[in-house]
């Protein structure tokens, strides 16, 4: 993603998106805060937490729009925060932030309810864009997450039979969108490549997110159950 697409930030309106940071590394929180301060007109960091308990308390207190959530933390990690906060505050949106390359970690936190996943090496400006996008209700798929999801839904020998075609299969269009995402295309570029509107791209991505969270296909549920999430 680059300067060619700033549509995410432009449409957020006057009030900056209120962000809460959760990461067990204080140094990393400081870094993210400094980077997001450059985009202070669109994103405002209202609080931060270094542990699961602090995070649950802080999110309850500040009621942020978006929580930037580290996947790996002691005491259950990001998935535990999601499990404890979502029942009481369903309107808070979570964006996972991780250094992990392990597909199961990423898929697990998505299935626990995060609206997207970005890697920690993301630039401050891209992070601000991603925050704004999830705040508007869209999903944020980094190229890597798109790759993981394509892999998880792939028809390979030994995969579980499809029980619910509505949830267990990606439509060809959704597959196309994911492929382009994995190739590093921005939403706008995907739209012009597939001759559809940006809004339609967003709809497809949200639909893929929903399927990733709800499908019970073998790979997805195995990843989740390995992590004791089911």
């Amino acid at each position: 993603m680059s300067d060619q697409e700033a549509q995410g930030t432009a449409e957020t309106g006057s009030r900056p998106v209120r962000v809460f940071l959760v990461d067990d590394h204080a140094l990393f929180r400081t870094g993210v805060r400094a980077e997001l301060d450059h985009a202070a007109d669109t994103v405002q960091v209202v609080g931060e937490a270094g542990s699961v308990d602090e995070a649950v308390a802080g999110i309850g207190h500040y009621r942020p729009d978006v929580v930037l959530l580290d996947v790996h933390m002691p005491d259950g990690g990001g998935a535990e925060v999601l499990r404890r906060v979502r029942p009481t505050l369903p309107e808070v949106v979570f964006l996972a932030l991780s250094v992990s390359d392990a597909a199961e970690d990423v898929i697990a936190v998505i299935r626990a309810g995060a609206r997207g996943y970005v890697t920690k090496t993301i630039s401050g400006r891209e992070l601000a864009e991603a925050v704004c996008r999830v705040a508007e209700g869209d999903a944020v798929f980094s190229p890597r997450l798109a790759g993981f999801v394509l892999d998880a839904f792939a028809d390979r020998p030994g995969a579980a039979p499809i029980r619910d075609p509505e949830l267990d299969l990606l439509t060809p269009r959704e597959r196309d969108v994911l492929r382009l995402l994995a190739r590093g295309y921005a939403y706008k570029e995907i739209a012009s490549e597939l001759f559809i509107s940006v809004k339609t791209v967003e709809t497809h991505v949200s639909s893929v997110l929903r399927k990733t969270q709800l499908s019970n296909r073998y790979e997805l549920s195995r990843w989740a159950s390995d992590r004791r999430l089911v």
Binding site: M73, P143, L150, D151, G184
Partner: protein, 447 residues
């Protein structure tokens, strides 16, 4: 930027060990150190079952009335239950509770004796000598338990005497000697009253009695020996694991940090070192074959011939370009398969495309996407840089023509190019998957 690193295997093993994280509803069955009256068995059982300790003590007391079954059960549990770790949190116990416990213990022993006397199920000799042996043993074991805790705290290591006394001071010595005295007296009484010495070799009986006495008195020590051995083995495994991780971090991360400190003024070099190190560490932590086991991959797997997997080869190729040109190559691979001659060609062509982008596009980030499908493999190399006019490329530039297009077409693949000045560049490579890769083996070697 500090990033959290974790060892997936180690973490999983740890959560498996730890009863707190497995969410088990029951506390482990261990003898309590704090709040114990005799051996901490009742408190441990109560904790394990989640019932008040008074109930458990009551049950033991009631059972004691049934021919001493409660006393026997208590003794057996005492032997078999491990003591809780020395660093376990201590519990509060009121003095009333403690008095109740002592009262119940005395009552239980009294009931056992009284019931035995009334029913005559246990002979008088049991109440006398055997009772003395039991009480003596209990005193010695209790003292040994206490000594063990002190020993763990002070990490002193000594033999049987140390294990039994454990530096508990004069009172401990008195208690142990008292216990030993009781045991010896009890056994002597038993032998004197029940055994007809004339019928037996008295020396054999004496030796046997001594052996039994020593065995009974040193049971805590034997149990501890076994537990200590296990503990030591676990500690050694942990130490070895730690040493291996430390060695790896020293060889890689610390060296890189030292290099970075030496040239803080060259951001490009710092970036290159940091990226290279990050990739290496990731490979070690999460990689398919793990760091160290990965063979000398060389030129993107080309040197080793058709070996290894596509995903690994793509990752290596991207890493090399990252290192050489200090750019970020974001790579995503969907699916995986074994490399053959054709796929090696695809990887080399893709590498060349990444190199071109790094050299000419003028951007810091390049995306590589590879997808393995049942009948073909596709690789996309994309940048958002300057782009160029394919018609205007001068004849002396061979990269695209030879290294990419020529190589792909020789192996039956296709290349598509999407670019225009200012629009960035995308090189699309497509290669059908072969059933027998040997057909085109010779051509690549000729280059």
């Amino acid at each position: 930027m500090v990033e959290s690193v974790r060892w997936p295997g180690v973490a999983a093993a740890r959560t498996g060990d730890d009863p707190a994280t497995t969410g088990s509803a029951h506390a482990p069955l261990v003898r309590q150190r704090s709040g114990r009256v005799v051996g901490g068995v009742a408190a441990g059982v109560a904790d394990h079952l989640g019932v008040p300790v008074l109930w458990v003590r009551g049950v033991f007391t009631a059972l004691a009335a049934l021919g001493g079954a409660g006393v026997l059960a208590y003794g057996l549990l005492w032997i078999s239950m491990a003591p809780e770790p020395a660093d376990a949190p201590s519990r509060e116990e009121s003095s009333t509770e403690r008095m109740q416990g002592i009262g119940l213990a005395v009552l239980g022993v009294g009931l056992a004796i009284a019931a035995g006397a009334l029913t005559g199920t246990i002979g008088r000799w049991v109440i006398g000598p055997l009772g003395a042996v039991l009480v003596g043993t209990a005193v010695v074991w209790r003292e040994a338990d206490e000594a063990q805790r002190r020993r763990w705290l002070g990490s002193a290591r000594s033999g049987v005497a140390g294990a039994l006394m454990g530096g508990g001071g004069a009172s401990a010595v008195v208690r142990v000697l008292g216990g030993v005295g009781l045991v010896v007296t009890g056994m002597a009484m038993f032998l004197l009253t029940k055994v007809d010495f004339a019928a037996m070799q008295s020396a054999v009986v004496a030796v046997l009695a001594t052996l039994v006495g020593v065995a009974v008195l040193t049971v805590p020590w034997w149990l501890r020996l076994v537990r200590d051995l296990n503990e030591e083995r676990r500690a050694r495994i942990r130490t070895e694991e730690r040493a291996e991780i430390a060695a790896h971090l020293h060889d890689s991360v610390l060296q890189t940090l030292a290099l970075i400190q030496k040239q803080p003024d060259v951001p490009r070099e710092v970036l290159r070192l940091a990226r290279g190190q990050e990739r290496q560490l990731r490979g070690w932590l999460y990689g398919p074959s793990g760091y160290g086991r990965r063979g000398p991959e060389g030129e993107a797997g080309a040197g080793a011939g058709p070996a290894g997997n596509l995903a690994e080869a793509v990752a290596t190729a991207c890493g090399e370009v990252e290192d050489a040109f200090a750019v970020k190559v974001q790579q995503v691979v969907v699916g995986d398969c074994e490399l053959d001659e054709r796929l090696v060609a695809v990887v080399l062509a893709a590498r060349e495309a990444v190199v071109n982008a790094a050299k000419h596009a003028g951007v810091g980030e390049i995306s590589v996407y590879a997808e393995v499908e049942p009948e073909r493999v596709q690789v996309y190399v994309r940048d958002r840089g300057k782009g160029f006019d394919p018609e205007a490329v001068s004849e002396d530039r061979h990269g695209l023509a030879d290294s990419i297009r020529g190589r792909m077409e020789r192996h039956g693949g296709k290349v598509r190019l999407r670019t225009a000045p200012g629009e960035g560049t995308e090189v699309q490579l497509e290669m059908p998957r072969s059933r027998n890769g040997a057909k085109s083996a010779g051509k690549e070697a000729r280059r």
